[in-house]
């Protein structure tokens, strides 16, 4: 500060000190405006952040649940899990498939409880005092643990149950309880376990064997699908009989073939004088039910039925060789083959119940030089490939390879359902179907409404605690508005009080101010005199108001302490807010002094002389 400014500052302070009663009144008047505003701001901020904290701290408010059960493709899960706002995504199975029977160690009846899949990063577990269960482990909700009287570390005996052929069966397992969730994680008794275990329970309930747990059951063998049936008859049919063939069979299209087109389709030549029909269902896969129905209709007419699929080629590998050869599926009993003048294939007639090696036989066309016994076929299934061994069983009579039609039927099913070849069983097995639901948590509560909106746009009905989040936002907006309304009134009052008192002071002090002019203080010096005073009054008021605020805030917080969690306060202001409020007050005080400052520059030194 330049010496003269310092001198003006010193005089301004001396004047305030001299009139300390008036100064005190002014300071208290301003503090009486600032302190309640600080308190109001603190209450608003404290309330909102306490409410928000409660939401933020409870993962329930970050959860999005599906409102209906439906199958979601794997891709859908992958895309969703990759979103930056999704912190945890766990697929779930059908509710009915995830009910677990839990034995009561106290001897009571077994409980049937929901089994919920969990995995790394599950916020519901991690934020409720739990760890993620590993293989052979589980986590219980508080209700479940209390009902059974178990604590963390104890072992539970659980069972997956099913009814098969009027017989109740159960697959048992022992699970170690690694943690019990806090009560807020849910009041329903539930068992949280790794997804693998949940899937095993699901498989068992669907009647399948779960070898890794020693649970017996059947294999998930594929059903057979067809695209059409070729019918070879010794006599011809009239149009009524022709159309009668497809009634109530699931077939919809009938076409009469000549010998040439039969050969094109099958690579086989039928005896002369036969009527040949192609019955199909226009792109739709057929089941064996259609074949059985048709067989029934044509009983006694000496018809030969040759079901076919849309698979016309197979990729074969042997050693390093690779080829794609045309293939036709044919299973004929010796008598039927004879009726067509053909040699029956070694695997004989159609047998959808068989499987194993019989299905994986192949007749190769003449001239194909393959290392005997080690041929593999590969069929692509989306991104994955289904690969299985084939064993040559002879030579094909035509120009294309012949396999059992059951094999092509199974491969046709693989076009709709994921399927794998199990080397151990030597069988094709269906992979489990898609998941039927999900458990989803976002990173923070603010991301929930947007994600919910997007999922609803995808026609996925979901449930989320959006209302709770939205309520707080609305409350925040409302309180902010009220705060500013009160603040504006208060601030205007404060400005008016400061302007009036400083202006009156200049009027009152014309004589001393005139003397100062006479002594040689410039107009600029005179301008600063009330400015310094106004700023000092504002500073003192801020100090007094802050003191009052802190006192009242601590009282309020103590009063409400019982209702709040540790570290939560109903009335609190971050230091940044206090800083902004202080700067704002000083800026407003400075503006308020300008009028008085201008007035003091207009004081005529002559007024000091003629004072008497």
């Amino acid at each position: 500060m330049k010496p003269r400014r310092r001198l003006v500052f010193g005089l301004a302070m001396a004047d305030l000190a001299h009139e300390w009663v008036l100064t005190l009144c002014m300071v208290l008047a301003l503090a009486a405006i600032i302190a309640p505003l600080m308190l109001l701001m603190g209450l608003k901020h404290g309330t909102i952040s306490t409410l928000r904290d409660r939401l933020v701290q409870d993962p329930v408010f970050r959860e999005i649940k599906p409102a209906q059960t439906r199958e979601y493709p794997d891709d859908w899960y992958r895309t969703l899990a990759a979103r930056p706002d999704v912190s945890f995504l766990m697929p779930t199975v059908l509710p009915a498939s995830s009910i677990l029977s839990v034995e009561d160690p106290g001897g009571g009846p077994a409980r049937l409880w929901d089994l919920v899949p969990t995995g790394e990063g599950d916020p519901l577990l991690l934020e409720n005092g739990s760890v993620i269960p590993g293989p052979g482990e589980c986590v219980l909700t508080r209700t479940a643990a209390e009902e059974l009287g178990v604590t963390a570390g104890e072992l539970l005996t659980v069972k997956a149950t099913r009814t098969r052929g009027h017989k109740r069966e159960a697959g048992g397992a022992r699970l170690r309880v690694v943690a019990v969730l806090e009560p807020r994680a849910g009041t329903v008794p539930r068992v949280y376990a790794p997804l693998d275990f949940v899937l095993d329970v699901e498989s068992y309930k669907e009647g399948l064997a779960v070898p890794q747990r020693g649970w017996p059951g059947s294999l998930a063998r594929p059903w057979l699908s067809l695209d059409g049936i070729l019918v070879v008859l010794t006599d011809s049919l009239d149009p009524v009989e022709e159309s009668g063939m497809i009634v109530n069979t699931g077939l919809s299209r009938i076409e009469k073939l000549n010998v040439g087109s039969f050969r094109d389709r099958t690579g086989l030549v039928p005896p002369a004088g036969r009527s040949i029909y192609d019955l199909s269902a226009r792109q739709r896969a057929l089941t064996f039910a259609s074949l059985r129905a048709l067989k029934e209709k044509l009983r006694g007419r000496g018809a030969v039925l040759m079901p076919y699929t849309n698979i016309s080629h197979l990729k074969l590998t042997a050693g390093n060789g690779y080829t794609e050869i045309p293939v036709f599926g044919l299973s004929l009993s010796r008598s039927k083959a004879a009726a067509l003048g053909l040699t029956a294939p070694p695997w004989g007639g159609l047998d959808p119940e068989s499987g194993g090696e019989r299905w994986r036989s192949i007749l190769l066309p003449l001239g194909t030089t393959w290392d005997q016994g080690d041929i593999r076929a590969t069929v692509s299934q989306g991104e994955k490939a289904l690969s299985f061994p084939l064993h040559p069983a002879g030579v094909s009579p035509g120009d294309r390879a012949i396999v059992p039609v059951e094999l092509l039927g199974a491969l046709r099913t693989a076009q709709q359902r994921e399927m794998r070849y199990d080397d151990g069983e030597g069988e094709f097995l269906l992979e489990r179907t898609g998941f039927r639901g999900f458990r989803l948590f976002t990173n923070n509560i603010d991301q929930v409404p947007e994600l919910v909106r997007e999922m609803r746009a995808q026609d996925i009905e979901v449930i989320a605690e959006i209302e709770a989040i939205e309520r707080i936002r609305v409350l925040d907006r409302g309180l902010t508005r009220i705060f500013w309304l009160v603040a504006v009134v208060g601030i205007l009052g404060g400005i008016a009080a400061l302007v009036a008192s400083l202006y009156a002071a200049v009027e009152r002090k014309k004589q001393p101010l005139g003397v100062m002019r006479l002594l040689g203080f410039s107009r600029r010096d005179m301008f600063r005199f009330p400015v310094y005073q106004g700023l000092l009054i504002a500073l003192l008021s801020l100090g007094a108001a802050s003191g009052g605020y802190l006192l009242l805030a601590s009282v309020i917080n103590q009063v409400f302490a019982a209702d709040l969690a540790m570290g939560q306060r109903i009335c609190q202001l971050p230091p940044a807010y206090l800083g902004v409020a202080s700067l704002g007050t000083l800026a407003l005080a400075w503006i308020s002094t300008l009028f008085a400052a201008w007035k003091s520059t207009r004081v005529d030194p002559a007024e000091a002389l003629r004072y008497e």
Binding site: P512, L518, G520, S522, L609
Partner: protein, 261 residues
């Protein structure tokens, strides 16, 4: 009876150097409510070390003239108005400053060249005696003096830490005089400094005033209605000749010397 100006040379340095104040042909006309008052100053000068008195009855224009000398009132017209004419430093052309409207320059002249003793003292009520006296020094850089020593010269040493309201009228005037002199201005202007005290005390104050001013090397222009008081101390006296050209007009002319009725 008309007396001539007093013999010059009573002041110890009146004939050395130039003129501290030199005014030619100054006129100030004030009209208010149909009544006009005109002050004419054909020639006024103040030499270093002089104690000059402006004497006249109330309403004669002596206070108006002091305001002009204090640079707080502008004359209607002026031939020339120079401060420190013919001294070593360049003279200060007040007329030019007024014409330029340079408030800042006027304020600077006031704090560096002028001291002022007001009728009522004009002390700042919120400052102690010490700070009141020290104020003029702090405004003029390089003019620090021992306030306590100055106060002792005026018999005020015991009052230094008091606020002005606890002082008597005479004490206040002494403080005001000290403040006007403490920064060793070239010119000290005093407006009836003893109007509020009895004549015995007034005599003592004016004597101390003259002695202090002389000791600090300041020339004094003092306004008074009391010829008896100033006659004893003034080196020179100016008085006012009043005329009434019409019923509603008064004209006062500042002239050297004085007339007695």
């Amino acid at each position: 009876m008309k007396r001539g100006p007093r013999a010059e040379g009573r002041g110890k340095s009146t004939e050395q150097g130039g003129k501290l104040i030199s005014i030619r042909d100054l006129t100030r006309i004030r009209e208010q409510g149909g009544v006009s008052f005109e002050l004419n100053v054909p020639a006024f000068e103040l030499r270093p070390g002089e104690f000059v008195a402006l004497v006249g009855t109330s309403g004669c224009g002596k206070s108006t003239m002091l305001d002009i000398l204090a640079l707080v009132l502008q004359p209607t017209s002026v031939g020339s108005f120079l401060l420190k004419e013919g001294e070593n430093a360049p003279s200060i052309d007040i007329k030019a400053i007024w014409r330029a409207g340079d408030e800042e320059a006027l304020a600077r002249v006031r704090r560096e060249q002028l001291g002022y003793v007001l009728q009522s003292g004009g002390l700042l009520p919120f400052l102690s005696v010490r700070r009141n006296i020290g104020l003029s020094q702090r405004l003029k850089q390089g003019a620090e003096q021992d306030v306590a020593a100055l106060a002792a010269g005026m018999g005020l040493e015991s009052l230094l830490d008091k606020k002005p309201r606890y002082l008597s009228g005479g004490q206040r005037q002494r403080v005001a005089i000290l403040r006007a002199i403490a920064h060793r201005p070239a010119i000290v202007l005093a407006d009836e400094p003893t109007a509020a005290v009895d004549s015995t005390r007034a005599h003592a104050i004016v004597k101390d005033f003259r002695d202090m001013a002389r000791a600090e090397g300041s020339a004094v222009v003092m306004v008074s209605h009391d010829l008896g008081l100033v006659d004893a101390f003034a080196d020179r006296i100016y008085s006012y000749r009043l005329e009434a050209p019409s019923a509603s007009a008064t004209r006062a002319t500042c002239v050297p010397g004085y007339e007695t009725a």
